[in-house]
């Protein structure tokens, strides 16, 4: 059944890269006309069939990046510079109405943080789906809508009875999965999932993760951007991981590199907060990063992590740091060289062992 839907889809991309973002900068403007640059010169590339994970603690601009990637800006979020290229079209300077009509849902779908609350409590799920599909195609018949919804739901392992239910009749995990299924009804190229499982218990979380993986396998979406602070989750879902701090990317690399061999001191600190139920993990000491992220109203001129960094040097607070490439197709934002960082971590490990 799913093949019928797949034929509807037109692959417009000529090359392999589906979403390309170049030096995107967006800001929030507060009531007092203060600018908060929550996404600062972020560049990323998502290839077909690949998934990208974005990690970082709260207040680092992960969700703002997700919102900015859609190209649909509304106050207080404002676009400043940069390009978002999806399927060969630059959507960063497009008219918001045009973006809503032709991009959202069809090219990029977004699952917000509390997606469960996105469902209207007075509507059955099928009526909600009717609204979504009719907004994009006025002349679609109710029979077609039902067929399409049923096919997608059944392919993803959700019972078709869900369609005739009200949101209150569904459990939290089921609601979340319903929202994900609805978001891919129009077969978007990229799905941005912003903490889709943070309010769920581990069992429902696993179901959601399984579903996200399934979406890629079945071909409902071409690529996935997954945002979370749970690193073990990210490691299991995504191919590449990007670590964000204070609106900037501080580390880029494959999932394995980022989790087992982090370069940037901040990523190193994040990896220290992993808790997994495996032998020997009980004695591992959790390393928390002291302090809080800087206020982005007036970010520091030098390295933004300098205030909380263990390996800070006097230069760090003065010289702006760029994103340096490292061996193995990865990048990190630190004034120290790869070798210096590794040496520092080794010394630290030895000190802990003693």
């Amino acid at each position: 059944m799913s093949n019928a839907i797949l034929e509807v889809r037109e692959r417009t991309t000529k090359n392999n890269v589906i979403l390309e973002v170049r030096e995107l900068t967006t800001k929030w403007v507060t009531r007092f006309k203060e600018d908060i640059c929550a996404v600062d010169h972020v560049s990323l590339k998502v290839e077909e069939g690949k998934s990208l994970g974005i990690a970082g603690e709260s207040g680092c601009g992960k969700s703002t990046l997700a919102l900015s990637l859609m190209g649909y800006y509304f106050p207080p979020l404002h676009y400043m510079s940069g390009e978002i290229i999806i399927a060969g079209r630059n959507i960063s300077r497009m008219d918001p109405d045009e973006v809503r009509k032709s991009i959202l849902g069809k090219e990029i779908a977004y699952i917000p943080q509390s997606a469960m609350n996105a469902l209207n409590p007075t509507q059955k799920i099928i009526h909600f789906i009717e609204d979504v599909l009719q907004a994009h195609d006025l002349y679609i018949t109710k029979k077609d809508i039902y067929e399409r919804a049923r096919t997608v739901f059944e392919t993803l392992g959700l019972p078709a009875e869900v369609l005739q239910k009200y949101p209150v009749e569904l459990s939290g995990g089921m609601k979340q999965r319903t929202v994900i299924a609805v978001s891919v009804l129009l077969l978007p190229q990229v799905l941005i999932a912003d903490e889709p499982s943070s309010a769920l218990d581990v069992t429902s979380q696993k179901m959601v993760i399984k579903m996200l993986r399934q979406l890629m396998e079945v071909g409902f979406i071409s690529s996935l951007i997954f945002i979370t602070h749970e690193l073990p989750l990210l490691y299991n879902v995504t191919d590449d991981i990007m670590v964000m701090y204070a609106g900037q990317i501080v580390e880029e690399g494959t999932a394995k590199q980022a989790v087992f061999d982090p370069l940037h001191p901040y990523s190193k600190g994040l990896m220290g907060s992993i808790i997994v139920p495996e032998q020997g993990q009980r004695d591992v000491k959790l390393t928390a990063i002291p302090g809080v992220p800087p206020n982005l109203k007036n970010p520091p001129t030098g390295c933004r992590f300098a205030e909380r960094c263990k390996y800070v040097r006097p230069d760090c607070k003065v010289i702006p740091v760029g994103l340096y490439e490292a061996y193995g197709g990865r990048a990190y934002r630190c004034i120290l060289s790869e070798k210096e960082l590794r040496d520092a971590y080794l010394r630290e490990a030895k000190k802990d062992a003693r």
Partner: protein, 270 residues
């Protein structure tokens, strides 16, 4: 843990039934559980297994349908408001949602002052009270000078949860019920809060009842683990025993549901 374990809190046949007739739901079903002094005991189960209901009954926040709670070997008596307050000097809680744990009309000073007053510090000079509050805030890495005259909603989730720990520090209870204290905050603050909780436990030697759905977290913090399914305990034992060598199928499922990094995570078993 000491060799001879002293019973701190225990229950016999504790039951809670919501609704009646056809809509009857047995949330907690004849539970016998023992908590010993100074231990960290985790209660693990998926959502809807009755963990929070059990915690609320232990705290005396909701009525008990059947069964008894024994506090330090004696039957708990919270029939009057005065006795209830006396009981709450011994047992305190941290809840899941820090945003709804505070009275929004009261600032941080009053929150902390209340705790001092509750421990009988009402007649202390003001300077002494401030010193105590500053000490408590310092314990959780908050600066008291920055917090005075502020309201809890001006803090971030992690800071609020830390302020909650500062409260516990002042109250000095015998038992702390931590009901998913880290499920709403990010992984980085989670590490901070767990460390503080464990440090506090060492400092004042209290019993911690840690409720969570994440078995990895339970493994990290606890001495004993109790697995709960549909209002009943299916497996109990020391953390190493239960989590590294689970016997029940339910426990095995819970462990397999947690994402792993050193082993393969099997997604097919949902």
């Amino acid at each position: 843990m000491p060799d001879e374990k002293k019973l701190c809190l225990s229950t016999s046949g504790l039951t809670k039934v919501f609704g009646f007739g056809r809509q009857k739901t047995v949330a907690v079903d004849h539970v016998d559980i023992h908590f010993y002094e100074g231990e960290v005991a985790s209660i693990v189960g998926e959502s809807g297994s009755g963990k929070t209901t059990l915690a609320k009954m232990l705290l005396g926040l909701i009525s008990i349908t059947e069964g008894e709670v024994y506090f330090q070997g004696k039957e708990r008596d919270i029939s009057t408001q005065k006795k209830k307050k006396e009981y709450w000097k011994n047992i305190q809680a941290i809840f899941q949602d820090p945003y709804s744990s505070y009275n929004i009309f009261r600032n941080i000073d009053t929150v902390l002052l209340d705790c001092i007053h509750m421990r009988g510090g009402r007649h202390l000079p003001h300077a002494k009270k401030v010193e105590m509050m500053a000490e408590a805030c310092g314990f959780v890495n908050l600066k008291f000078e920055e917090l005075t005259k502020k309201y809890p909603f001006e803090l971030s989730g992690g800071q609020m949860q830390r302020l909650m720990i500062a409260r516990i520090f002042l109250l000095n209870p015998k038992i702390l019920v931590a009901d998913e204290p880290t499920s709403m905050i990010d992984a980085c603050s989670r590490a901070t809060i767990l460390e503080m909780l464990m440090q506090l436990r060492k400092e004042i030697g209290m019993t911690v009842i840690f409720i969570t759905h994440d078995i990895g977290l339970a493994y990290y913090v606890s001495d004993t683990v109790h697995i709960m399914e549909h209002g009943k305990f299916v497996e109990s034992g020391s953390a190493d025993e239960v989590i590294l060598h689970p016997k029940e199928a339910y426990t095995q499922r819970l462990i397999s549901d947690v994402p792993k990094i050193y082993e393969e995570w099997d997604l097919s078993t949902v």
